[in-house]
C-alpha cells in the first residue's frame, strides 16, 4: 500500500502530497506524521499541497486535524501552496481552517516556520 513520504530536514518535517489524496491515505498520513513528530522531536511541519487539485470535506478536515495534532505535539504546522481552485472549494464547503498557518510556497513557508519557532524561543512560551 502506498504512503506519503515524510522527509526530515533538521528540526523540521517536510510532507509533499503529490498524489490524489484518498481517505485511507489521509488517515495513514495522520498516523505516520504523528509518530514521526514524536520520533524526531520535530519542531515544525511543512505540508506542501501545491500539486493537490481536488479536495473534499474529508480531506479538508484531515488537513485541519493534522495541523491541530502537530500543535499538540509541540510542532508548528504550516500549509503551503494551496491552489486557487482548492481554496475556493474549501471556502464553499465552509472549511475556513481556522488556526492553520498558511504560506504561498515552500520558501515562504520555511521562513514563516522559522519565525514562529524563533518567537517561541524568544518569549519562552508558545506563540
Amino acid at each position: 500500500m502506498d504512503r506519503i513520504p515524510i522527509l526530515r530536514m533538521g528540526e523540521f518535517l517536510l510532507v509533499t502530497i503529490q498524489v490524489d489524496m484518498h481517505d485511507q491515505l489521509a488517515l495513514r498520513l495522520q498516523d505516520d506524521l504523528s509518530n514521526a513528530i514524536q520520533k524526531h522531536a520535530a519542531r515544525g511541519v511543512l505540508i506542501d499541497i501545491s500539486t493537490l487539485e481536488m479536495v473534499d470535506s474529508f480531506i479538508g478536515r484531515m488537513v485541519a486535524d493534522i495541523s491541530g495534532m502537530g500543535r499538540i505535539l509541540g510542532a508548528e504546522t504550516v500549509l503551503v501552496g494551496m491552489q486557487p481552485a482548492v481554496a475556493i472549494t474549501l471556502v464553499e464547503l465552509g472549511l475556513a481552517l481556522p488556526g492553520v498557518s498558511t504560506a504561498l510556497n515552500v520558501e515562504r513557508g520555511m521562513a514563516l516556520l522559522r519565525r514562529k519557532i524563533d518567537g517561541v524561543d524568544a518569549d519562552g512560551a508558545i506563540v
Binding site: 494551496m82 481554496a87 504561498l104
Partner: protein, 281 residues
C-alpha cells in the same frame, strides 16, 4: 402537376420577380443609411431566388427543415447574421423575406390565369413556405443578437475585475459596481490566480466603487478573504465608506480577523509596513 408552380414561375420570370422585389425592398427599407448597398442587396436577392428555385424544384412541400432547403436555410442564416451585426431591427430583417410575397403572388396570378382554385392553392403554399423562411430568418437574427449580448456581458465581467500590482508583493483589486454571485466568483478566481502568478503576499480589496454592501456582498467578501488566507496571502479591505461601515455593523456582519481601512492609501501604507518596505517622502 409535374412540377410546382412556384419553381416554374421563378424559372420563367425570375428577372421580373427580382426587379419587382428590389423595388419593394427599396421602398420598405431606406438604403440611404449606408448600411447596405443596392449592389449587395441585388446579390442577396439573386442568390435567394436561385436557391429557392432549386429547392422548390426538388421539394414541393413547405417543410423548410427538409434537406432540399439546407442551402437556402444556410444562406438566410448568413444574411440575418450580417443584418444583426449591421444593427438592422428584426422587422427590417424579416421584411427581406416578406416583401418577396407581392412580386411572387403577382407572377403566380399571371401564370394561373382564370383558374381561381389553382391560384388559391398555390398562393397558400407559397405563403406557408415564405412564412416559415421568414420565421427562420428572424430566429437566426435573434440568436445572433443574443450572441452579441452574451459576448459583451462576458467582456464586461472581465473588464470590471482588473487586478493591479501596486508594489512588489502587493496586489490591489479596485471593485466597481454592484457585487453579485457571478461577479464575485470571477473576482475571486482572477485575484487568487494572480496571487499564484505573482507570488504576492498581500492583496488589497478596494470597495470604494461598490455602492451598497448587504449581507450577501459581505459574505462574498469574507469568502474571498478566507480563500486568500488559505493560500497564504493576507487581505486588506479598503475604501469602506462611513455609510457602509454603519450598514455592516447594523447587519451584524462579523468582520473580525479582517483588516479594514478607510482608504486605499492607508491600506497601502499598512501593506508596505507588513512586507517590510519603506517609502521616503
Amino acid at each position: 402537376m409535374a412540377e410546382g408552380m412556384i419553381s416554374n414561375v421563378l424559372k420563367k420570370s425570375g428577372k421580373e420577380v427580382q426587379a419587382a422585389w428590389a423595388r419593394d425592398l427599396a421602398a420598405a427599407l431606406p438604403t440611404g443609411k449606408g448600411r447596405i448597398s443596392a449592389i449587395e442587396l441585388e446579390q442577396q436577392t439573386g442568390e435567394f431566388l436561385k436557391l429557392l428555385t432549386t429547392a422548390a424544384e426538388h421539394n414541393k412541400g413547405a417543410d423548410i427543415a427538409a434537406s432540399d432547403f439546407k442551402p437556402l436555410r444556410e444562406f438566410l442564416e448568413g444574411v440575418s447574421r450580417s443584418r444583426a451585426v449591421q444593427r438592422f431591427t428584426s422587422a427590417e430583417t424579416a421584411t427581406f423575406i416578406f416583401s418577396f410575397k407581392r412580386p411572387l403572388f403577382e407572377q403566380l396570378k399571371l401564370a394561373a390565369g382564370k383558374d381561381a382554385e389553382k391560384l388559391a392553392d398555390e398562393t397558400w403554399q407559397a405563403t406557408v413556405l415564405l412564412d416559415s423562411l421568414g420565421l427562420h430568418t428572424v430566429q437566426t437574427f435573434q440568436k445572433a443578437r443574443e450572441e452579441v449580448i452574451n459576448r459583451q456581458q462576458r467582456e464586461m465581467l472581465e473588464l470590471s475585475t482588473p487586478v493591479v500590482k501596486l508594489w512588489e508583493g502587493i496586489l490591489a483589486l479596485p471593485m466597481i459596481g454592484t457585487l453579485d454571485s457571478s461577479r464575485t466568483q470571477v473576482v475571486m478566481e482572477s485575484l487568487l490566480q494572480k496571487v499564484v502568478d505573482t507570488g504576492a503576499q498581500i492583496a488589497i480589496l478596494d470597495i470604494t466603487g461598490v455602492p451598497t454592501v448587504d449581507t450577501l456582498v459581505a459574505q462574498h467578501l469574507l469568502k474571498t478573504v478566507t480563500a486568500l488566507r488559505l493560500m497564504g496571502a493576507e487581505c486588506i479591505i479598503s475604501g469602506v465608506r462611513p455609510q457602509i461601515a454603519q450598514t455592516i455593523v447594523h447587519l451584524g456582519v462579523d468582520l473580525q480577523g479582517v483588516t479594514t481601512k478607510a482608504n486605499l492609501a492607508d491600506a497601502l501604507a499598512l501593506a508596505l509596513k507588513r512586507t517590510g518596505s519603506t517609502l521616503k517622502s
